[in-house]
Symmetry: C2
Subunit: 124 residues, 2 copies
């Protein structure tokens, strides 16, 4: 499990603005600085956000491994954080990064290569 | 609650690729066609995705109201869907739209105006 709010060092005023999923997470949209390309979606709890804001290295909570991970720690594909913004209802973050190498574990530059058919487009 | 997988008309092959939160949802990142601006984050269950793909109008599941909502149904600020892509692990969608008016209920063009301090930037 992510650490509790009592254990995190994230500013309490920011913690109070987060609206989390039942498992304690907010969605982090990762966008590439300069190109505007949306690279991936990851998850943060309060502590991952604290680490991201204070180290400048994008740090997430892995839902599959149930642990913190610094992006690039094993792959070398780091994300240097330029800007973090919280959305109006507190359940999403927009993280603007400088991406080293590929953002996706498949080796693709971003994670959104699986296009779904929008059937309404055919009718236009 | 969102409708069950048995009740949705979404293609079973797509349903099988979705990795949902404990409350049955995937995150939908909404990006503006042309500008690349990230407008908002919303949530979809399988049925909301089905309606989005078949109508071309962005349709979400509201976590706060616990109901489906067609973006713009009350505000007039519709989103016409150009592309939908699923990410590599099935827990996020990237929805590319043509946005009419403001995407945010606050009247701002996007929902990410609440910038958080990245203290590491000061040390660079």
């Amino acid at each position: 499990m992510p650490v509790s709010d009592a254990e995190t060092s994230l500013d309490a005023a920011i913690v109070a603005r987060l609206k989390r999923t039942p498992d304690g997470l907010v969605a982090a949209i990762v966008q590439e600085h300069g190109t505007g390309e949306v690279l991936m979606l990851a998850w943060m709890d309060a502590e991952a956000l604290h680490r991201t804001l204070t180290t400048g290295r994008a740090t997430y909570w892995s839902r599959s491994r149930q642990e913190y991970w610094v992006k690039g720690a094993t792959s070398g594909h780091h994300q240097s954080v330029r800007r973090v913004a919280l959305d109006c209802d507190g359940d999403a973050l927009l993280v603007t990064v400088e991406q080293t190498g590929a953002a996706c574990h498949t080796g693709a530059h971003n994670c959104f290569s699986d296009e779904l058919p929008v059937s309404a487009l055919e009718a236009r």
